[in-house]
């Protein structure tokens, strides 16, 4: 199957006064049509910037330094700003992390929804656009959508607002949705509902999903494949089953052990020693070296390359190869 999105050697740097921040540094991954891929990592590991890079929403002082982003047959780096605008919100949609901030506080929900349709379909009538939007609200589980269309964002709770942004993302039946921690700001009970609904809606419409999150527990349940990011690089990627059940990279192992669960009750929670290195002064070698239990002299000097393993997963580690 031909991937719907292929990211190759993407580098997005921020040129600040304090120095260059390599927020995304040489990452490659792909998403197949209808597939759900998890992009996992701690805050500041470059997940969100990856999402914005795909949509061409990197603002100064940030810049995509090199790499290819291929969407279907289009090279997103080469197309015009107008073409990119046509793709945004239409073929690739995005859901943001904080539902309290994503909707414009001074515009009615209907305005914010209808404009999304009209931006990509100039000929549609106001009534048709309205009906589509109202149905979309109903689809994400908002009751009495006709009334709600007239409301302002502040009249909604956080969970409801995130449903609205999900409805907006689904409006033009995109081929790919980038969901940037869509459930992080929500209550656990609402979280479950939103995840379930997104999964269902994507299945029904055959939409592929890039699920960006720091929460392994969430992605474990819904994704087909997982990419784990650390300090701007993907350090391990493979099928969800492999990553969760047999993590190879010490960082992935640490992440999985850190997830609190009930069978570890009474035990001390696992934590990965040390801190994420400052993005302003990344070490010459492996960025995880200082916190790694497998570290060797070589790790300090050499940047591990991405290597494919027999079971199909990709790893960036100098020591795993020796072990197995």
């Amino acid at each position: 199957m031909k991937p719907i999105l292929e990211v190759e050697n993407l580098k997005t740097y921020f040129f600040t006064k304090e120095g260059v921040v390599k927020a995304v540094d040489d990452i490659s991954f792909h998403i197949n049509p209808g597939e759900i891929v998890g992009l996992v990592g701690e805050s500041g590991s470059g997940k969100t910037i990856t999402g914005f890079s795909i949509l061409g929403l990197i603002d100064s002082p940030g810049k995509i330094v090199s790499g290819n982003i291929k969407f279907k047959d289009l090279d997103l780096q080469k197309i015009s700003a107008k073409q990119m605008q046509d793709i945004r919100g239409n073929r690739i949609a995005m859901i943001f992390q904080d539902p309290m901030m994503t909707l414009n506080p001074v515009l009615r929900i209907e305005t914010q929804m209808i404009e999304t349709i009209k931006a990509h379909n100039k000929t549609i009538s106001q009534q048709d656009a309205y009906n589509t939007c109202r149905d979309a609200l109903g689809l994400v589980g908002i009751s009495s959508p006709d009334e709600r269309m007239k409301a302002y964002p502040h009249q909604f709770s956080g969970g409801m607002r995130q449903r609205v942004s999900i409805a907006i993302a689904l409006l033009n039946k995109p081929d790919l949705i980038i969901a940037d921690e869509p459930t992080t700001a929500l209550d656990v009970t609402i979280q479950g509902q939103v995840i379930f609904e997104m999964q269902k809606l994507c299945k029904e419409s055959g939409t592929a999903l890039l699920w960006v999150t720091h929460d392994l527990a969430v992605v474990a349940g819904i994704t087909d494949r997982i990419s784990v990011m650390y300090a701007g690089r993907i350090i391990e990627q493979g099928t969800t089953d492999k990553i969760i059940n047999q993590p190879l990279h010490p960082y992935t192992q640490g992440l999985i052990k850190s997830v609190p669960s009930k069978n570890k009750k009474g035990e001390k929670l696992h934590q990965i020693d040390g801190m994420v290195p400052s993005m302003f002064s990344l070490p010459k070698g492996c960025a995880f070296e200082e916190r790694c239990y497998l570290r060797s002299e070589q790790c300090k000097q050499e940047q591990p390359l991405e290597t494919q393993y027999a079971d199909g997963r990709f790893l960036r580690c100098l020591n795993i190869g020796k072990q197995t």
Partner: protein
């Protein structure tokens, strides 16, 4: 909404009352208008008669009581100088001042909003830096000096625009104003520009600051992620948010435009209320001063109310107590 407006109106009357008391007593402390009205060489008996006639021999509070009673029946007293009732005298001059203020507000908005948004969107560009430095000049140059320079340049050197007076008046929808004739427009342009300069700078800086803040918000990025055009993101999503503080400031500044257009009116010999009040202060024309200040305060109070109501339309999160929603 109605309840809210009634409450506010009631509050306004209290403000007006307190303010008139302060003004009345204050004005009584400075100078003796009697020597402005009659020659100092007059007979003492004559002076005595005039003092009695105007009630200057009574205690201040008693004078104030008479004043209040008269105001209640719409009589603000007669101008000492011109001998005609103070209120019509001022109201007759007001349209000229209002039209000057409205037109200068229009000028400052038309220039300041686009420039402010531009400077906020592209802070690194040289043009933005020039705009911002220019706005500091607009802030800091004294109005009277700028007015004289405008006259020097456009009226004297280039001879493009007239420098004094109101010009021909045109009538439109029953309103008489120099905005409705070409000749009138040419007369109002220089004083309006002069008066606009300060507001222009403050609205520009406010717009820029608002733009810089709003442009970083998630909802702007989300609007872009929806594939909206640049102009829609700026004109709808950004502008509607920065208009909230701008409307507040404009509303309040409009009051001060009217109240303090005195300098510009004096420089350009604009026959408005500002010039009248300056003349009245020189002549210690108490009734005109008091009436003018009361009108201005009433005007401010009214503007504040308008701003509050406008606010609730712009920002749905602001709900006015007693309104039905």
């Amino acid at each position: 909404m109605t309840v809210y407006i009634l409450q506010r109106t009631l509050q306004s009357f209290v403000v007006l009352f307190v303010m008139s008391l302060i003004v009345f007593c204050g004005v009584n402390l400075i100078g003796d208008p009697i020597y402005m009205m009659i020659s100092p060489e007059s007979e003492p008996a004559e002076i005595e008669r005039v003092i009695k006639e105007f009630g200057f021999d009574r205690p201040v509070l008693e004078q104030y009581w008479f004043f209040l009673k008269n105001v209640a029946s719409g009589d603000f007293g007669r101008s000492f100088v011109q001998g005609i009732p103070a209120l019509p005298l001022i109201l007759e001059r007001f349209p000229a001042t209002i039209e000057l203020a409205v037109f200068s507000l229009f000028i400052s908005l038309v220039i300041a909003l686009p420039l402010g948004v531009y400077a906020g969107l592209y802070p690194e560009r040289k043009s933005s830096k020039i705009i911002m430095s220019g706005s500091i000049l607009g802030f800091s140059m004294p109005t009277f000096w700028v007015g004289i320079m405008l006259i020097m340049l456009f009226a004297v050197k280039l001879d493009w625009l007239p420098s004094t007076g109101r010009g021909e008046l045109g009538t439109f929808l029953g309103i008489e104003s120099s905005l409705f004739t070409l000749n009138g427009l040419s007369h109002i342009f220089l004083p309006a520009l002069n008066l606009a300069l300060f507001k222009l700078s403050s609205v520009l800086r406010l717009t820029r600051a608002g733009t810089r803040e709003v442009i970083l918000q998630d909802y702007i990025k989300f609007a872009r992620a929806k594939g909206l055009s640049h102009s829609r993101v700026i004109n709808v999503h950004l502008l509607k948010n920065i208009l909230i503080p701008v409307v507040t400031v404009i509303g309040l500044e409009f009051g001060s435009l009217v109240a303090f257009s005195t300098v510009t009116e004096t420089v350009f010999a604009w026959p408005g209320a500002g010039k009248l009040i300056i003349d009245s202060v020189y002549n210690l024309d108490r009734p005109v001063i008091v009436a003018y200040l009361i009108i201005i305060v009433a005007f401010f109070v009214f503007l504040n109310l308008i701003v509050d109501i406008l606010y609730s339309f712009l920002d749905p999160r602001v709900r006015i107590k007693g309104s039905s929603e």
